[in-house]
Amino acid sequence: DARVTQTPRHKVTEMGQEVTMRCQPILGHNTVFWYRQTMMQGLELLAYFRNRAPLDDSGMPKDRFSAEMPDATLATLKIQPSEPRDSAVYFCASGSGKVGELFFGEGSRLTVL
């Protein structure tokens, strides 16, 4: 059963620490999305890759966030330094290029103290 795998599932850290979240997209999918979910803002798109190339990261705070795809099986989202307002659930989703047909991982719940 193909699925998107995210690690860690839960992360508690202190303000100022670096946080790295990882995502393994479904094999063969060529698009990867990072979303952030909070009660106040709902689902926000942070970054979007196609064929490992970043297409859009306009939703991402550039000063502290970075997203990369070192290879086709790994996407990373890094926050450095982390702040309490970064506390949220971060979702990775992958797709095969069909508009809107995304497969989401179970998310990484981040708490920054």
Binding site: V4, T31, F33, G42, L43, L45, Y48, R50, L55, D56, F91, A93, G95, G97, K98, V99, G100, E101, L102, F103, F104, G105, E106, G107
Partner: protein, 116 residues
């Protein structure tokens, strides 16, 4: 700008009752429309999608949705709700941005509670 409004933050229904979740969108062209469901502690799962053609679309788990262009709506329905349908439901519209992007805009979600 593209946007999605889900007017109901929380809906409670009894098991076996019918369900309708509302979704209104703002989009400059013919939209692609989607409903996703999120069970507690899980990621989102695609329920159904509308691209073109028949305005009534069927999805998984017995859900259906109807596209009404005149009302800019894409409401989700189910004739008889099961306790396992308790979840949060998200309406989405896309694509947006230039360059053939596959990005979606999501609504804020409607949380569904099912009473026994």
């Amino acid at each position: 700008a593209q946007s999605v409004t889900q007017p109901d933050i929380h809906i409670t229904v009894s098991e076996g009752a019918s369900l309708e979740l509302r979704c209104n969108y703002s989009y400059g062209a013919t939209p692609y429309l989607f409903w996703y469901v999120q069970s507690p502690g899980q990621g989102l799962q695609l329920l159904l999608k509308y691209f073109s053609g028949d305005t009534l679309v069927q999805g998984i788990k017995g859900f259906e949705a109807e596209f009404k262009r005149s009302q800019s709506s894409f409401n989700l329905r189910k004739p008889s709700v099961h306790w396992s349908d308790a979840a949060e439901y998200f309406c989405a519209v896309g694509p947006y941005s230039q360059g053939g992007s596959e990005k979606l805009v999501f609504g804020k979600g409607t949380k569904l509670t099912v009473n026994p």
